[in-house]
């Protein structure tokens, strides 16, 4: 038996998500990434003596939305606690967090594996807390600087059960989590800006058993790549320890992406007694269940459900469905367009190729395109009805983007893109090509059936893309007969 088959990994993830609020959690400072250091601060978030926290209702609302999307129960009575520890990026010397009454608990969250299989993870809890500031170590200088712009920005910490059994499952869970949180508007989950950070608890147990081994916690994994690398490294490290007859020590680990290894974090960070106690500045508060139900009713269709509907009811490929649910805006655009066209596959195809091409070329957001879902629907319908060829349709898409005033049909007319399916005109084009490409025609007649496509290409070219390919193909066959009949 190899290490990999002898031991089963047990993984639980703690994810810190920045809630997408415009201001901080307990003061009115702007919550924004990228401002010059210490410009988004006030007496509260720099913890001047005598200041008090006031809860930002928007943070609570987005926390509830996230909890509902994760299938959690929202505690109608909740409270904040102080988590005490000293660190220069923590200006109060304590973090306002939630200890024994988290806002959200006992969730069940379905996620999809790359092969399409459905899995479920339990969500033990999700609680609100404030973020710390940032420590900057300027290069070549023997000092550290503190930037408090991030201090006090709202976070939701989402703790999964020990339900993930491979790095692949962990990655699929994280990706579904990110999609879902973005879809409900809880957070942007922008990893580069620290908006989605992960700590991984890992233990191993003999395959086929239900016991739980000693776990380690690997901290501060701030990219999907690092999570995958750290999990793999830690599983291998623990496997080697156990294979050698050793015991895994419960400790906090750090992942070094350069060496691809995990190593124990030494020092005092490892031995915290956080001395949690109820935050006296924020009284226990009630989360109105009726309000929670209003929020539940306002939840959009979740990416996981959307994907199932796209591949089921709408008959889309798993790949197309993946692409459409990756971003909520894309799925919403698709929904709006397909509601008009009634043709899911074609609509998805045009959206994922031409519309995304325009987005990339123009470097703008989907919502900023002049070619909105209604106009894409016009285009899809025009192609579908044989008004323009697919090839002409591509050009038309580009033209529609720069000519927001004109309809697809009017532009096709104006640009002379209307498909030639008229028998006489098409026959003249076919005759022209057959007359010119005598060499190809001869080989086709000699039995090379594949050359029909080459001849069709020539017809299309001669029509400058306007010929109806289906009608042209039929005319070619009628003119030349089946291959090899010569």
């Amino acid at each position: 038996m190899t290490t990999a088959t002898r031991w089963e990994p047990v993984i639980g993830l703690e994810v810190h998500v920045h809630l997408a609020t415009s201001s901080k959690m307990f003061c009115r400072c702007e919550a924004r990434f990228g401002a010059p250091p210490n410009t988004l601060v006030c007496p509260v978030c720099t913890s001047q003596p005598g200041t008090l926290p006031v809860l930002n209702a928007e943070a609570l609302r987005r926390g509830v939305l996230a909890g509902l999307a994760l299938g959690c129960t929202i505690d109608p009575h909740t409270k904040f606690d102080r988590k005490n520890y000293f660190y220069p990026d923590l200006p109060k010397g304590y973090q306002i967090s939630q200890f024994d009454r988290p806002l959200c608990r006992d969730g069940r969250f379905r996620y999809r594996m790359p092969d399409g299989a459905d899995r479920e993870a339990t969500i033990v809890r999700a609680h609100l807390e404030e973020d710390s500031g940032k420590i900057i170590h300027p290069e070549g200088m023997d000092l550290s600087l503190v930037d408090l712009n991030r201090a006090g920005t709202p976070l939701l910490e989402i703790v999964s059960g020990p339900d993930l059994h491979s790095p692949e499952e962990a990655m699929a869970y994280l990706q579904e989590l990110r999609r879902t949180l973005r879809a409900v508007g809880a957070g942007d989950c922008d990893m580069e800006k620290g908006g989605f950070r992960c700590d991984a608890n890992v233990s191993l147990r003999p395959a086929g058993t239900e016991t739980l081994g000693t776990r380690t916690e690997t901290k501060n994994l701030n990219s999907f790549k690092f999570v995958a690398g750290a999990l793999q490294a830690e599983i291998e490290r623990q496997g080697a320890v156990l294979d050698g007859g050793g015991e895994v020590v419960q400790q906090t680990m750090a992942y070094d992406p350069v060496s691809g290894r995990t190593r124990p974090l030494r020092g005092k960070e490892d031995a915290h007694d956080y001395r949690y106690f109820p935050e006296p500045d924020l009284p226990e508060f009630r989360v109105d269940p009726a309000w929670v139900e209003t929020l539940r009713a306002s939840l959009p269709e979740l990416p996981h459900d959307r994907h199932a509907r796209y591949t089921g009811e709408l008959g889309l490929s798993a790949g197309d469905a993946d692409a459409l649910v990756a971003e909520r805006e894309l799925g919403d655009y698709f929904e709006a367009a397909v509601a008009i066209t009634g043709r899911p596959k074609e609509t998805a195809n045009w959206l994922l190729t031409e519309v995304l091409r325009l987005v990339n070329e123009r470097k703008i957001a989907l919502g900023e395109l002049a070619l909105g879902p209604e106009r894409l629907a016009e285009l899809v319908q025009l192609v579908d009805a044989g008004g323009v060829s697919v090839q002409a349709g591509r050009r038309l898409a580009t033209e529609m983007e720069v000519r927001p005033d004109a309809t697809a049909a009017a532009l096709a007319e104006e640009l002379d893109l209307v498909q030639v399916s008229d028998d006489g005109a098409l026959r003249a084009l076919v005759d022209e090509v057959v007359g010119q490409e005598t060499d190809v025609v001869e080989r086709y007649r000699g039995g090379n059936a594949g050359l029909l496509n080459a001849l069709l290409g020539s017809v299309m070219k001669a029509s400058r893309g306007k010929a109806d390919p289906k009608a042209a193909r039929e005319l070619l066959l009628e003119t030349l007969g089946p291959a090899g009949d010569g």
Partner: protein
């Protein structure tokens, strides 16, 4: 010295010039403060600017407000933008507040003249001002004695007749006990009646700001001004808040209970004598007084340990921000981060503050929190319930404010537990969040505190601040104006 009420009325009517009123207060401060050290920063220029603003408002024909031209001093743990805010500690030496507290904003909005910031025990931890890093204040009745604490500077400033009213803050007795020891009125409002915004935190679930005044009416006036909901303090009350000033001041038919637990053996006999006389005066005024037999407050004997566990636990967290990185001079010699914290905190916090941080940290620590902090919360709840039950039968509870009169400087400072006993009779109402006033009820006739003031405490149910203050006004009316300290006698 005139009352705040009288000064405001005369400034509003044009009879008094606010700048002259202020200059007179400044003269009193300059003459008397060297004898009592009530002030950490007199900040006379700020007072003059306030007076100018009031004068300007009057020139425009507008009303400066209910405290027009009244000099008011703040305990030096309440923020005023640009002013010092030492909280009596070295760690905040040189610090200037970047914003103004709610109470100071309210005072300024009603035309008050902010005159200086008063001395206190470091971070309000103490009952004598001897824990101030800047030296103790002295009692205007006997300068070898303490004024009480932690709001001792405010009580001394009022008792010395420098200002008619000052603000104090209370966590376990810090308004009422110095008021009692200095022979003035001190009112601790219901927890949450006054915003803590801008008050340097000690025990957040206990801290409250209230007035210390020569006259009960002035305490009611200032409480009316500073109380009320503040969206910046989530623990402030949002409900209706009747005026403490317009509530009828009448003792007739008032049911006043005197729980035997308030007449503890630790209470000095001569203090008890004055308080008994005061209770007789209440009765003469029409109140129905009853001694409640022992057993109505069975958990009260635990109030001191419970108070110290709760307040110190919260303080250990509240004071964590003073880590030498943003406050206090950095100790560059410390090579490692935690050494630096330790060097700063050991070097700049006084021994009592360090003791309480250690006590609070221990009480919250893993393995100990269940036995100490959590147990204390449970007993706190019991004390609250016991008070509630008493208020089913009584409108107010009466007793001595402090077990003893003003003690000598140095008398209790060597023994922390002797000092903690100062809170014996005040801590219970703090734990229960109840409104409570200490009114002067005469001077001790004999014994260790002969000739020194004694305070009568009146405590009401939560939210009945107006009733407690009305009773204090009624008592003062029955008894007559309180005795003046020798420092005020010069005035004539």
């Amino acid at each position: 010295m005139l009352s705040a009420t009288a000064i405001a009325a005369r400034v509003r009517s044009g009879e008094f010039d606010p700048q002259e009123v202020t200059e007179a207060a400044i003269r009193r401060l300059e003459a008397r403060d060297p004898q009592v050290h009530a002030y950490l920063d007199p900040d006379l220029e700020r007072a003059r600017r306030c007076a100018d603003a009031v004068a300007e408002t009057l020139r425009r024909g507008e009303d400066p407000g209910r405290l027009a031209g009244v000099p008011v001093s703040l305990k030096d743990n309440m923020a005023v933008e640009g002013a010092t805010l030492t909280a009596g500690s070295r760690i905040l030496e040189g610090y200037r507040a970047p914003y103004t507290s709610h109470v100071a904003q309210r005072l300024l909005a009603e035309g008050a003249v902010l005159l200086g910031r008063t001395n206190l025990d470091e971070f309000a931890m103490g009952a004598s001002t001897e824990n101030s890093a800047y030296g103790p204040s002295r009692n205007p009745w006997d300068r070898d004695r303490v004024p009480g604490g932690s709001s001792g500077g405010s009580a001394a400033a009022v008792a010395a007749g420098i200002v008619p009213v000052a603000l104090g803050s209370e966590t376990g007795g810090s308004i009422r006990q110095p008021a009692a020891l200095c022979g003035v009125t001190g009112f601790k409002p219901t927890y949450g009646a006054v915003s803590r915004h801008g008050l340097v935190a000690f025990g957040s679930s206990l801290d409250v700001i209230g007035p210390i005044a020569c006259h009960a009416e002035d305490a009611a006036l200032v409480h009316d001004v500073i109380a009320g909901h503040d969206p910046r303090d989530a623990t402030t009350w949002t409900g209706e808040r009747p005026s403490a000033l317009t509530e009828r001041a009448d003792l007739e038919g008032l049911r006043i209970g005197i729980p035997e637990e308030f007449l503890d053996d630790a209470v000095d006999a001569r203090v008890l004598e004055r308080v008994s006389a005061a209770i007789a005066q209440l009765e003469e005024g029409g109140a129905i007084t009853r001694v409640v037999p022992k057993g109505s407050l069975p958990s009260m004997h635990l109030a001191i340990p419970v108070y110290y566990l709760v307040a110190c636990s919260e303080a250990s967290s509240n004071l964590a921000r003073f880590d030498g990185i943003r406050y206090g001079p950095a100790r560059e010699e410390a090579a490692e981060l935690h050494e630096r914290y330790a060097a700063t905190r050991a070097g700049l916090f006084g021994p009592e503050v360090r003791r309480r941080i250690l006590l609070g940290t221990f009480s919250l620590s893993a393995g100990y929190a269940d036995a100490w902090y959590k147990k204390a919360l449970q007993v706190r709840r019991l004390i609250l319930d016991e008070f509630r039950a008493l208020f089913a039968d009584y409108d107010l509870l009466a007793g001595p404010t402090s077990p003893f009169g003003a003690f000598k400087i140095g008398e209790r400072s060597k023994d922390p537990y002797a000092m903690y006993l100062c809170d014996l009779l005040t801590a219970p109402a703090c734990l229960a969040g109840l409104p409570s006033v200490s009114v002067p009820c005469g001077l001790a006739r004999k014994g260790a505190y002969k000739g020194l003031p004694v305070g009568l405490s009146l405590t009401g149910p939560a939210g009945h601040d107006h009733k407690v203050l009305a009773a204090a006004r009624a008592y003062e009316a029955v008894r007559g104006a309180p005795e003046r300290s020798p420092l005020q006698e010069d005035e004539a």
